[in-house]
């Protein structure tokens, strides 16, 4: 298809030249092929922005293709081998390193240095860490998301808790969850996701990081306490055992339905929650391990990259500049947090926006590591085997740690 388009463009140009001999041919039109996880029918991010850009740059045509989130890495890898890779693509932030390490991404640093639009110093540290390797830059964060604690203020009141004082530390979270749990009414104190997928890692990693560990430092005594804390929530049925198989979306649905009094999830839930949740819900920062200990949240969303194979890096970069310039719009129009310091006019859900933005400032990229997929799987296995008591938290994390070490030293 791509080749066909190129051929047609070529033919059209040739015909133009033939039809108007002696006339300078129009500047040849360039077509940029762009892959995204956005949906066209929902008018998400890439689709409307590509049309706006085309209007401003009549000589550049943008061909946007939707790829399923779960297929993106595989499809991009395959296309890179066969030479059919797009010019610009979305890559989820922990996987930049995978594609970078294979030499598939264009280093944008020289173009950024000359750019009047993109200013790296404005980006928050988390999103920037996902794309910046030394003095090289392999993508531009298109937005960000992160985790915080949603809570049902009505249930807080009913349980005799102060809805203006959401839990600040893990012990407070546990105590509140315990008070809010009501098996007779099918209410769990808290919902989160420990599912065996990247989502499980996304949810768990901030807890390990708040305890002082990280993906490559998983089994310190504090790390073990983090996993034991999750264990306690499931063991005492303060969270559903199905937490192990529920995605974040499914977990949040139980909160919206009034079957969980709190849920850990991200800003992408706000549109659905504002429709489904028939109660006073509020957002608070994730509680810290102890009072005053560091606060960490997760970093979600992805980056716009230019593939090294692209024949039109200049035009592709112009497109990236245009996308970046729209950062003040991403919250209100598509529900991502801005990945850099910009002023958002009249943000929707202003109170929640403020909390999530504060959480984003503490968000850390997962990894980075070129073997992120394998590392993430080792972490998921540790979470699941501990939560189901097939291993103690310590055994599970010891195993994960040695697996991660052997993956890194491969």
């Amino acid at each position: 298809m791509k080749r066909l388009t190129r051929l047609m463009t070529g033919l059209a140009c040739a015909a133009g030249i033939a039809a108007a001999p002696g006339h300078q041919a129009l500047a040849a039109q360039v077509t940029l092929h762009v892959w995204t996880i956005d949906f066209e029918n929902l008018n998400q991010y890439m689709f409307p922005l590509a049309k706006e850009f085309e209007k401003l740059h009549p000589d550049i045509k943008i061909d946007v293709k939707h790829v399923q989130f779960s297929d993106m890495n595989n499809d991009l890898a395959r296309a890179s081998i066969t030479g059919d890779a797009p010019d610009v693509s979305y890559i989820d932030n922990p996987y930049i390193d995978l594609f970078r390490s294979r030499g598939l991404l264009l280093n944008l640093a020289p173009m950024i240095a000359k750019s009047k639009v993109i200013d790296l110093s404005k980006f928050y540290p988390g999103p920037l860490a996902a794309v910046k390797y030394g003095d090289k830059v392999y993508g531009i964060p298109r937005g960000a998301n992160t985790l915080a604690l949603y809570y049902n203020a009505d249930m807080f009141k009913a349980a005799g808790l102060d809805p203006n004082k959401p839990p600040q530390t893990w012990p407070e979270l546990y105590a509140d969850a315990k008070k809010l749990t009501n098996p007779a009414k099918h209410v769990y104190g808290i919902a989160f996701s420990a599912v065996a997928s990247e989502e499980g890692t996304f949810q768990f990693l901030p807890w390990i990081q708040m305890a002082g560990g990280d993906y490559d430092k998983l089994n310190t005594p504090n790390d073990v306490k983090a996993l034991e804390f999750w264990q306690k929530l499931i063991d005492q049925k303060l969270a559903s055992p199905d937490t192990l198989v529920r995605s974040q979306f499914d977990s949040t649905a139980t909160f919206n339905a009034g079957n969980a009094a709190m849920v850990i999830s991200g800003p992408w839930e706000l549109p659905r929650m504002s429709k489904d949740a028939k109660f006073d819900y509020r957002v608070a920062l994730l509680p810290t391990m102890t009072e005053g200990s560091p606060r960490v949240s997760a970093l979600g969303e992805g980056d716009n990259v230019i593939l090294k194979q692209s024949k039109h890096p200049k035009q592709a970069f112009e497109f990236l500049e245009y996308l970046n310039a729209q950062m003040p719009r991403v919250w209100n129009e598509w529900g991502f947090l801005p990945a850099e310091r910009v002023t958002v006019q009249n943000p929707k859900w202003p109170a929640d926006y403020k909390v999530f933005l504060a959480a984003l400032k503490t968000a850390r990229v997962r990894g980075p590591s070129p073997q992120w997929a394998q590392i993430s799987q080792a972490i998921q296995t540790a979470i699941q085997s501990a939560l189901t008591h097939q291993a103690t938290a310590k055994q599970a994390l010891d195993t994960a740690q040695s697996q991660v070490e052997s993956i890194i030293n491969q």
Partner: protein
């Protein structure tokens, strides 16, 4: 004048037919299988898949995969999954086949309706079972609790002691119609006068089943068991829809693991190793199947 008929009778035509069949098998069965074997001996991942940069590493991939901590658990799960699925599909399938052998009004229509489950895509079946078996709000738990059979909800999908059996239950349900159909054909092929003669000789229902039905069904049973084993080892969709092999591999089986290795962690070599080991098992089972169909021809 030598016409088409002469051509069709000639040796050339025979050879053409054989060549066509062999070429088809070679291109669509042998080549992919050989390619998998080759990949299992190479160091290869998603990014080197299309390049020539894939060094041979001998059996090192096999060593690596078999030493992964989850390998034996997954092997054991696969054994349990196949054995229980095939056993219960066969028993229930045979019972239903014999039930429908009794002629009653609407019997053949009902037998046809039983196939409805079998023609449904396994992903859809999996999604329905996932909903039925949900821990907090599942239909099965609701029924069990309201009839007083259980007091605490069973977490069918998230309890590591139960998850594998949940998939087995769904798979048994999915495989029963196929077993029933093949076994019905086998039962119908047993001549009625054999039973009549036995009845006259004083054989009761039970001895007729043991001494006539079972021996005469031997070939059919062998074929059904072999096919069920092969189909069960191909069952991927139910795992994808129900448990994704979890929690922590407690319901993981070889066919799902192979996919996980190749497409979730981009370890194509590892995924190929598991696939090759499965091919060996399937070839053994297929050999039994071929033997039993040969017996069938003799009968």
């Amino acid at each position: 004048m030598r016409g088409f008929g002469a051509f069709r009778d000639g040796r050339g035509f025979d050879i053409t037919l054989v060549t066509l069949a062999l070429a088809y098998l070679f291109v669509f069965a042998a080549l992919p299988m050989l390619y998998t074997v080759v990949m299992s001996l190479q160091k290869i991942d998603m990014f080197t898949l299309g390049t020539l940069n894939r060094p041979f590493v001998g059996l090192r991939n096999y060593e690596r995969v078999l030493h992964m901590p989850q390998a034996w658990r997954i092997a054991r799960n696969t054994g349990i999954f196949v054995a229980l699925s095939v056993l219960f599909q066969l028993l229930i399938g045979l019972a239903l086949a014999m039930f429908f052998q009794q002629e009653f009004p609407g019997g053949s229509t009902l037998r046809g309706l039983f196939l409805a489950g079998w023609v449904m895509p396994a992903l859809v079946v999996g999604a329905i079972w996932r909903w039925l078996l949900a821990g907090d709000f599942g239909v099965v738990n609701y029924l069990l609790a309201s009839t007083g059979i259980v007091h605490n909800h069973i977490f069918w999908i998230s309890d590591p002691h139960v998850a594998l059996y949940s998939v087995i239950i769904a798979n048994i349900w999915l495989g029963i119609p196929f077993n029933m159909l093949l076994l019905s054909v086998g039962l119908a092929a047993i001549p009625g006068d054999v039973y009549e003669a036995a009845a006259i000789d004083g054989a009761g229902r039970f001895s007729r089943f043991v001494f006539i039905t079972l021996p005469l069904m031997r070939a059919t049973l062998g074929a059904v068991v072999a096919l069920s084993i092969i189909f069960t080892m191909q069952q991927y969709d139910l795992f994808a829809a129900l448990t994704q092999g979890g929690p922590s591999n407690s319901s993981n089986v070889a066919q799902y693991w192979s996919w996980q290795l190749s497409f979730e962690t981009y370890d194509i070599s590892g995924g190929s190793v598991v696939a090759v080991l499965m091919i060996i098992v399937v070839i053994l089972v297929a050999a039994i199947y071929v033997r039993s169909t040969r017996l069938e021809q003799r009968v």
